[in-house]
């Protein structure tokens, strides 16, 4: 069994019941409208809108990204997966699925957000694009490995954001900083250090996930 097959299986079952997609879509609307209502008639500054963008991304991610592993536990298909696939294959398949989901979610958020918040203007598009891609990768990787832990801890829903936040905090801080910089119109060359930190976070998290997944997966 290849990671690609696992991804296809997850994709088809997701298309059939659309649980994660629906909850993610609803959460995007809920979070953005809460921010819009709380802002009201006030005008928000540019930097604040850049920070709030990642707040929307974080909370939306927390609502749906745990599904990949929790759904296997709920259906009771974990044992079958353990028999037919190697742990690394399982992690790769789930990671690809979460990556696609996070990417789709972030694209929708970005378009909706820039349409609804006039203050959210990016001057340096190249820098923001790279921030966006590396940020999406980081969120997908960290949330997948935490989702694996959560599914073994009896699928406690409230535990997911509690466990994810400290792990995602350095990522979110660098992302907010980079978004601010790209709103100023800083060129890619000037922000290269921050981009490298972002890339190193992704690499570190990816390697730790592959190293430790064995221990979570085998009971």
């Amino acid at each position: 069994m290849k990671a690609y097959h696992l991804f296809r299986k997850d994709l088809f079952s997701e298309i059939r019941n659309r649980y994660a997609i629906n909850s993610l879509a609803m959460f995007i609307i809920v979070t953005i409208s809460v921010i819009l209502f709380s802002v009201g008639e006030e005008t928000i500054s540019d930097y604040l809108s850049g920070g709030l963008y990642w707040v929307v991304v974080f909370f939306t991610g927390m609502s749906g990204l745990a599904r990949v592993f929790v759904s296997e536990e709920e259906r009771g298909t974990t044992l079958t997966l353990q028999l037919i696939a190697r742990p690394e294959t399982v992690l790769s398949g789930k990671l690809i699925f979460n990556l696609v989901l996070t990417l789709a979610m972030n694209i929708v958020i970005t378009f909706l957000y820039s349409a609804l918040f006039p203050a959210f203007v990016i001057k340096s598009l190249m820098l923001f694009f790279i921030t966006f891609i590396l940020g999406t990768l980081g969120i997908a990787i960290s949330s997948t490995i935490i989702a694996a832990i959560i599914s073994k801890a009896g699928s406690k829903g409230t535990l997911y954001p509690v466990l994810s936040f400290p792990i995602l905090l350095p990522l979110i801080l660098i992302l907010i900083n980079l978004t601010k910089i790209s709103m100023d119109g800083t060129s890619f060359g000037e922000a290269i250090m921050d981009v490298l930190f972002l890339a190193s976070y992704d690499v570190v998290m990816l390697s730790v996930s592959y190293l430790l997944f064995d221990f979570i997966w085998k009971d």
Partner: protein, 232 residues
């Protein structure tokens, strides 16, 4: 026993010297502390703030080392040792946060200003809290040990981002930040030899105290588990 006597002597000296030795502009006598511009009498809290912060990191490191050991050998003893280190680390983390906030109030003017160091100690508090939440959520002993070991290793690899990278890309007030020009790490060149000696003794005393507490804690956890096993 000998360690307890050493600890008692060191701790008494650090507490008496750290609080009562005078700070003067031109240190002459052996017990004088130098006046550090901008800090004044506030400088004395360094004898209690830095050691607690050091113990916080040390406890987290030890908990991670025992977690790795547990994952390799699957010995529940190692999990108990890791848990004791976590509990002590949480206590010292709160102490470091509080002493740091008090110091910040009198030097920077605010209890909390999201300086990079404050952000990182806050993240460490969150990690400790998340680990306790995870431990309390799982009933099965082996599963709890495995999951918390895995989580503490994942959390541990994010620590370098806070400790080394954050303060260098964010503007901060704490010594050692990116825009830090003259305050410098206070430890290195603003202390005279007497102040430095008390500081080092304080770090040593707190480290001995930590190891003593950790040994008592893990032993009592061991005995508790044995008693529970017999009781069942």
């Amino acid at each position: 026993m000998i360690w307890k006597i050493i600890l008692f002597l060191l701790m008494s000296y650090v507490i008496i010297a750290g609080i009562s030795f005078p700070i003067v502009e031109k240190p002459e006598a052996w017990y004088h502390f130098p006046l550090i511009p901008g800090l004044g009498e506030n400088a004395k809290i360094i004898f209690f703030h830095v050691p607690t912060a050091w113990i916080t990191v040390l406890a987290f490191l030890m908990s991670t080392i025992f977690s790795i050991k547990y994952l390799r050998k699957k010995d529940l003893d190692d999990d108990g040792k890791s848990q004791t280190a976590l509990e002590l680390g949480m206590v010292f983390c709160i102490l470091a946060t509080v002493t740091g906030a008090v110091w910040a109030k009198f030097t920077w003017g605010e209890y909390w200003s999201w300086d990079p160091r404050q952000t990182s100690i806050f993240a460490l508090l969150l990690i400790y809290g998340a680990l306790f939440a995870l431990r309390s959520a799982v009933e099965n002993e082996e599963k709890r040990a495995t999951l918390s070991a895995v989580y503490s290793i994942i959390a541990f690899v994010t620590v370098p981002f806070f400790v080394f990278i954050m303060p260098r890309i964010m503007k901060g007030l704490h010594p050692g930040s990116a825009d830090d020009t003259n305050v410098g790490p206070v430890v290195n060149f603003k202390m005279n030899s007497n102040m430095y000696l008390v500081f080092v003794l304080s770090v040593v005393a707190f480290t001995i105290l930590y190891f003593w507490m950790w040994r008592v804690g893990s032993r009592s956890l061991n005995i508790k588990e044995k008693l529970l096993k017999n009781y069942r």
